[in-house]
Subunit: 337 residues, 2 copies
DNA sequence: TCTCTCAGCGCAATCGATTGCGCTACCTGC
DNA sequence: GCAGGTAGCGCAATCGATTGCGCTGAGAGA
């Protein structure tokens, strides 16, 4: 863009060799140079407005100081907090973040992965959690660093940071049971995601333990539309059956709201609904949504921490970190009629 | 990360010079090489799994194929669609996007700007719209390329892509007036933003034209909390005065919801409220929010288009693009009592 | 006074790709 | 058969910073 000041410019102005300037400006190597010289060079560098060229440095050091973040869709409200969590950890440490959206398309995911590789990212944070992501496991042997966040993938040799899904579902069920509900429905997310599997299993297990009637419907996506159509289908088959719905996430729960409303059913008077995620503005919905809060910002921070550990050469293996969740009771759950 | 295949590796395998491989693999220079050789080299490159090193290329070509996006806060729901719009235009053209959040802190914005410069970004898309951003105008003479999006800054020599704020406010007022409202309140965003200024002026102008009673309160931020406290203050001073509130954006409108609810006032029965932005889930609020829809995704696309034009050497000057808005009528507005 | 040591700094290779320049064939036209 | 032209490709510089190695000179020790 503008005619930039280079190391060589500073060196010339200071009457020294570029190598000396490089060493003077770097914390690590600063002690290899006379203190007096360091001060002089630093002053001249500042006067000339020298800024290092990260690209050139990256070429030589084989580090781009960049992390690639692969996620399904940034407009899904759980991802912005994750990204900001990642940012908050990485930026102060000199790293930048390259975010890409896959829209759930595995072939696009592969393509984006490759393009991030071309950009020499130092590591990946992957939030798509597709089983297809397992193909990325192949790269593990090539020394590629990655961390999964939000969703885990079975058998993948990378660390993962997830929320305590099982506990979240248990809290939801116990809450609903304490309100007198007996007949439960779970809208499960699509197969192939760890979140879907774990939440479904927790639903079944906890309902059995408490002696509750349990039914599960699989949705086609974690979206409002999928939630609505799944609930529509359920209500067609079993009108006025379940009084408690545990949704796979908040978007599905919102779909349930829509379905109920269109049929003249009231939430929570007729049907209680619990979401999962505690997305932004869940408190402003109609009715305010009872949901399981998952600490997305912190998950981002942890994922960033793990990827940097790997980059710094610490072998952590497929470590799994599970962050605690909590139930946020609002207006979408009430005592069973 | 892994032992990567370089241009030299391909050259050796093909028995030619690296320069020839480079020319063969590049669309532009391909015709400088014998078709037969090109085919052979391409095949070998694929077999070896060669992927170009974007960093090395960037050093030589002085282009990083990266655009820096500076915004206040990714968790503000208007920004994800903008970012996705930018992405959708840039990615297919080989560019990547580096997103940073300023949290409204001008000194942080300056620091992030510099760090993006160090990373040799080819251009900036700036969504913060602070008047302080004007300091970036200094760089204009140094050949820095930038586009403003969402908010413009007066007198800045860069192009800008914004929504038609004035028309949006007019539509809101006409809608409310047609419902019989006479006394209007506008919660204006903080001073210093083009959006605040334009929307306030449009509010005043249109109220005057229609002979409506108009009052404006400035908020301290475009946030739910700021909206709530501003509305609280207003209601303390003028209980039961205005029946129509035009909020500076949806978050402020949500703050108005909260304020009304805590005082036992009903929306829309007692007070009608209109937001601005039509953020995600505005339809799921309590009540569903009447608001002005602004095409954020498209704004991102346009901003991306303009920055690429500049990079490709097209002098567009401080061109201003204004995208049309529309009023989405939902449940937060009703006939005046 | 002479050697030895080491702090301080210069030299030049290196990272991987791009590109202006020029060389070598071969081909054409006369 | 020769000058002129051109296609195809190699050579080497270049982008800007980093870094192993080695040189120089000053200070220390004998």
């Amino acid at each position: 863009m503008r005619e930039r000041v280079t190391l060589a410019d500073v060196a010339k102005a200071a009457g020294v060799h570029p190598g000396t300037v490089s060493r003077s400006l770097n914390e690590e190597t600063e002690k290899q140079v006379n203190q007096e010289t360091v001060r002089k060079i630093r002053k001249i560098a500042k006067k000339l407005g020298y800024t290092p060229n990260t690209v050139a440095r990256g070429l030589r050091t084989r580090k781009s100081m960049t992390i690639g973040v692969i996620l399904p869709d940034l407009t899904n409200p759980i991802f912005p907090p994750i990204v900001r969590g990642i940012d908050s950890y990485l930026l102060p440490r000199g790293y930048s973040v390259l975010v890409v959206n896959t829209d759930g398309d595995p072939s696009l995911e592969k393509k984006l992965f490759d393009s991030l590789m071309e950009r020499q990212v130092d590591g990946f944070i992957i939030a798509t959690g597709r089983s297809d992501t397992a193909s990325i496991a192949e790269y593990h042997d090539h020394g590629i660093k990655a961390v999964l966040v939000n969703r885990d993938v079975a058998g993948i040799p990378f660390p993962a940071v997830t929320a305590d899904d099982a506990t979240g579902i248990r809290l939801a069920i116990e809450h609903l049971a304490s309100l007198g509900h007996k007949k439960f429905l779970h809208l499960s997310g699509p197969a192939g995601f760890s979140t879907s599997r774990i939440r479904s299993k927790a639903f079944t297990d906890n309902c059995k333990k408490l002696g509750l009637h349990a039914r599960i419907i699989k949705t086609t996506a974690y979206s409002v539309e999928a939630g609505q159509s799944a609930m529509d289908k359920y209500l067609d088959l079993h009108p006025q059956d379940a009084t408690a719905v545990v949704a796979g996430n908040d978007l599905l729960a919102l779909g349930v709201y829509h379905s109920l409303r269109l049929r003249g059913l009231r939430c929570p008077e007729d049907v209680s609904v619990v979401g999962f995620n505690n997305m932004s503005f869940a408190n402003d919905f109609q009715p305010p949504m009872t949901t399981v809060h998952a600490p997305y910002f912190e998950m981002g921070v942890e994922a960033a921490r793990l990827i940097l550990s790997q980059i710094e050469g610490i072998e952590i293996g497929p470590m799994k970190i599970t962050l605690p969740v909590s139930l946020v009771v609002r207006g979408s759950t009430a005592r069973s009629a």
